[in-house]
């Protein structure tokens, strides 16, 4: 058994854009270092400085936060940030792969790429979260997650710095949960121990 504990979930994926740094501080900041699932994050943050966002969040949060490396095996209690200018994918063997394929939804990394590959890899064992952001990245991916039996979470658009990403996601599917950002850490904890 390669999965941790007896829970039905094996990983969390998150897509976030405008307002992402603050949102991730709140979300990851609400989790303990012992959080039992790996977390994979695509954030559209205009940053040439590789590793910048990961270092900032790692200082701020209890969970370990790092920029994802190629062929890295995902482990619980760790959040992996997609490197700037690369797509991040989850393979069926639980390893991260990167690609420089063209931008999707004008974005590289793209949340759709992460969500779709993670849905393939984890099926019903996946929790996918769409947070604040401009544009519509993550919507198609969220649909793929739902189709594979995964659990979908969308930040309440009224509560988001930029509402179009969560609005678009909630228009494509009926998410399992729509809630304010502040309540999402609690939900992720509850689901993880289910």
């Amino acid at each position: 058994m390669d999965r941790k504990g007896n829970g039905r979930f094996r990983a969390v994926v998150i897509g976030v854009s405008t307002g992402g740094v603050e949102a991730l501080k709140i979300l990851l900041g609400g989790l303990q270092a012992s959080y039992p699932l790996p977390i994979l994050i695509v954030a559209h943050i205009a940053s040439e400085a590789s590793n910048g966002l990961a270092l900032l969040l790692d200082d701020f949060c209890s969970v370990r936060v790092k920029e994802a490396d190629e062929l890295e095996e995902i482990v619980p209690g760790t959040a992996y940030i997609a490197p700037p200018n690369y797509h991040m994918q989850l393979e069926r063997d639980g390893k991260i792969t990167l690609s420089v394929d063209p931008p999707v939804n004008f974005a590289r990394p793209s949340a759709d790429v992460l969500f779709e590959t993670a849905a393939d890899a984890m099926g019903a064992g996946l929790i996918a979260v769409v947070l604040t952001g401009a544009g519509s990245d993550g919507s198609i991916g969220l649909k793929a997650v739902a189709a594979k039996g995964g659990t979908t979470v969308v930040q309440c658009p009224m509560n988001a710095v930029a509402d179009s990403m969560p609005k678009s996601a909630a228009a494509v599917i009926k998410p399992d949960y729509v809630m304010p950002l502040e309540r999402i850490p609690e939900l992720l904890i509850q689901l993880a121990w289910e």
């Binding site: 590789s50 490396d69 190629e70 062929l71 490197p83 200018n85 690369y86 994918q89 989850l90 393979e91 069926r92 792969t97 990167l98 690609s99 420089v100 394929d101 063209p102 790429v113 779709e116 590959t117 393939d120 890899a121 189709a147 594979k148």
Partner: protein, 275 residues
Amino acid sequence: MDQDELFDIELRLLLSGINQAYGYDFTDYSEASLKRRIMHWFVNSDYATLSDAQARILRDRDAFESLLRGITVNVSEMFRDPPFFKAMRETVIPHLLTYPFVKIWHAGCATGEEAYSTAILLNEEGMAGRFRMYATDINNAVLQKARDGIFPLKEMQRYTRNYQSGGGKKSFSDYYTARYDHAIMMPALREQIVFASHNLVVDSDFGEMHLILCRNVLIYFKPTLKERVLFLFDNCLLPGGFLCIGLKESLEGRKIASRYSEVAPKMRIYRKSYG
């Protein structure tokens, strides 16, 4: 069984068929990227199912070539990762200048943007007329684009910024002519590069090299294929020669690693030992 599971089965059958019929082996490509590319090709095709596509592909070389173009198309940018090009100027060039003539292999060059970037850099650093660059790719359609050296003009603004922060010494517009919405690279640059077809999965190397660049190509391969390709590079790289891979790639844990040291931290520029 849902549609997606069926697609996965059809995908495995198709890849096996392609290997048997045409000798192109994709079993050691990373699955997520390969599947996305085949899916992308498939939804833009007229086939109702991947099995329909397979029946045609196994019988019709042109249909196969269309798929091959779809799944092996890598993207390339000019002066992607400017700090890397800066490090090239500072750490690699001084060594290359000690040779009367150097040979360079750009493996997996795609549409050629990075090969042109490297050629520009070599010219600016005093290597004009003293190098030959072999730029290779598995995909003949992108190679033709690379040979043509014509790129969208709208990209040039971004490339100019990259060029400048990568230590560019001239005006980037000196290197191309703008025509309508395209930029045509200077013919003198094109003449310094030999574009040729080469499949890293099955082909052997071609001669001794002083510098090999293969950035963001190995990330599409599984470890077994990575090892094979790195062995191929090691085989033709001269002692004291340089190997450049992508910034998120690494020789760590690879069999050839003991013969290489990283000469520019985090820039993934490795030098082969003389031992």
